[in-house]
């Protein structure tokens, strides 16, 4: 049993490295392309507000908090925390594997990670993809799970940013998921069989003109929904926290008494949302992994 887990962890260890090289090519051009758009986006808002078009404009502050900015002389803060999260996952996986030692019993990091890896394998991969294929896709699903979890938790640190709150990063993750889905179908049934499986057999012929476009569309909307879901969840929590804290400044503009009265309320509310964000980090890692597994299972074992 433990040897099996060890093999699993060994398999899981190269997987983050497999995900990471796939991701930066997508993330990098988009991340470089993003800053002009990101810088341009708050400007019309500021003009829209007219009078309060200063740098302290609430909309500018919120957008500044959630969009990509230069960091420590690097062009992109999100890219920095993206690489940091990937590095943490890779190093953590190596440490976890190493902690098994010669006795085959994990200690420290390994014992903590083993539970999560087993959870991904037994609760997510195998029920949704099947016993044999589930084992095959567990390393990929593990790297999704741990990367999203670590990236989201990193984003809760002071002065940090959530790299999964960037559309380019979630698009890279969703693309990896998309190729995994297609690979699952093509490796099991061949290229022609994979596309023939999109429509269930025994369908009336007059339904085909409707079903084929719908199924091909759904092939692309699945990863698109994964991308938007993760991005919006990561972005929304941070925007809510910033907005709640900005309420102090907004009330303070009216009078200092308003700001002083608002402060405890704002801080309590944002503390609550902060706790919620820790929960959301786990739930989103789980949902992204679960839905990827379900979609992979859908193509690996279509209805027949």
């Amino acid at each position: 049993m433990t040897a099996l887990v060890l093999a699993l962890l060994l398999q899981a260890a190269p997987a983050p490295e497999a995900t990471v090289p796939a991701a930066p090519p997508v993330a990098e051009p988009a991340a470089h392309a993003a800053p002009p758009g990101a810088d341009a986006a708050p400007a019309p808002v500021a003009e829209g507000h007219g009078a309060a078009a200063s740098h302290d404009d609430p909309a500018t502050v919120i957008m500044h908090h959630v969009t990509d900015v230069p960091f420590l002389g690097l062009p992109s803060k999100h890219a920095f925390f993206f690489l940091l999260a990937a590095l943490l996952v890779i190093v953590g996986a190596q440490l976890a594997v190493r902690s098994y030692g010669s006795k085959g019993v994990p200690r420290g990091v390994g014992a903590a990670v083993e539970g999560l890896v087993l959870f991904v394998r037994n609760q997510i991969a195998e029920p949704n993809i099947g016993h044999r294929d589930g084992r095959k896709f567990t390393p990929l699903l593990c790297s999704f799970f741990f990367f999203i979890l670590v990236a989201a938790l990193l984003g809760l640190m002071p002065f940090a940013a959530t790299s999964t709150g960037n559309l380019a990063v979630t698009m890279a993750l969703a693309l990896v998921s998309f190729f995994a889905q297609q690979y699952a179908g093509i490796s099991n049934y061949g290229l022609v069989g994979h596309f023939r499986n999109l429509v269930p057999p025994g369908l009336p012929a007059w339904l085909l003109p409707i079903m084929i476009p719908v199924e091909i569309l759904s092939m692309f909307t699945k990863p698109f929904a994964l991308m938007i879901r993760l991005f919006a969840n990561m972005l929304a929590g941070h925007m809510v926290i910033t907005t709640l804290l900005l309420l102090i400044a907004l009330m303070g503009q009216i009078s200092w008494l308003g700001g002083a009265a608002m402060a405890p309320v704002s801080i309590l509310l944002s503390l609550f949302i902060m706790f919620l964000e820790v929960l959301v980090a786990f739930i989103q890692a789980y949902i992204f992994t679960l839905l990827s597994a379900v979609f992979i299972g859908m193509y690996a074992h279509p209805a027949h």
Partner: protein, 75 residues
């Protein structure tokens, strides 16, 4: 009327409608799941998994609409 005002107005109303829809969907889902777990506590694990999956799908559609309202507000 100023087109910006219309856009903000549409974004606000749209966000509210989106939340009504999403909340109704997830609320019904959670109610049904609770009922299922209460009737069949042995199946709690399976029901919870299916509930989270369906909640994720509902949430996804909600976010599609929410993105449209955000685009209305910041463009």
């Amino acid at each position: 009327m100023n087109p910006n005002v219309m856009a903000y107005f549409a974004a606000g109303i749209g966000a509210g409608l989106v939340i009504i829809g999403g909340a109704a969907g997830i609320g019904r889902l959670a109610a049904a799941a609770m009922e299922g777990i209460a009737r069949q506590p042995n199946a709690a694990g399976d029901i919870r998994g299916a509930m989270i999956l369906a909640a994720g799908l509902i949430e996804g559609v909600t976010f599609f609409a929410l993105i449209v309202t955000i685009l209305l507000a910041i463009k």
